[in-house]
Symmetry: C2
Subunit: 123 residues, 2 copies
């Protein structure tokens, strides 16, 4: 599979889901998945979903600036690196962020998020 | 090994080497290593070293803001996510950057950089 196509497809799917149906993000994680969100470490699909759905904003819009992707090694996974900005309702300033995902293959031929690290880029 | 300790040690070593002895960075990569530098894809230790040593500045100083680390899966590797800024001589403004590394174990019990993705964070 073309890594650039795969990663763009994943990134579009991830942030569209985040912005329109955040509860459904749980389907992209599994029990062993890890999220580090602004330095806070969370493990497991349910805990990650709880964290993402308890962020102090209900509505948001992610705008993507760059997507980079590489195969992550022998296991058939991919690392995906994203930069962009986050728009919150009533906020004049965009919040710049960087995020990396390590996508691991499922036995069904799809992928899930094994590693997820998110950081705001303070100006 | 404590992942936070491992990643901080690696990050200090990487950027100190970059800032003081850039040619020695080649030792941190192997033939299968990949670098995506501002969207440009480079593979292999020699080509990566050539790229890093042909950047249009001789002197620089990396200042690290955050380091996050997670185990990358069954293979004993680690993903490391860094944010910081880059100081160039004669430049008033700091260049903010984000970078991710996927460190893979060597048979000797050390690590090398398998994946490396670097992006400047334009304000």
């Amino acid at each position: 599979m073309d890594p650039d196509q795969l990663s763009k497809h994943f990134v579009e799917h991830y942030y569209t889901t985040f912005d329109t149906n955040r509860l459904a993000l749980i389907n992209l994680y599994q029990e062993g998945s890890m999220l580090t969100f602004e330095g806070e470490k969370i493990q497991g699909a349910q805990s990650i979903s709880n964290k993402l759905n308890s962020l102090p904003f209900q509505q948001c819009k992610h705008n993507i600036s760059t997507v980079d992707c590489q195969p992550s090694g022998l296991s058939g996974g991919w690392v995906v690196f994203v930069s962009g900005n986050l728009q919150l309702p009533g906020e004049e300033h965009l919040l710049k962020f960087s995020q990396m995902f390590h996508l691991a293959p499922t036995p069904q031929g799809s992928f899930y998020v094994f590693n997820d690290i998110f950081r705001l880029n303070y100006a």
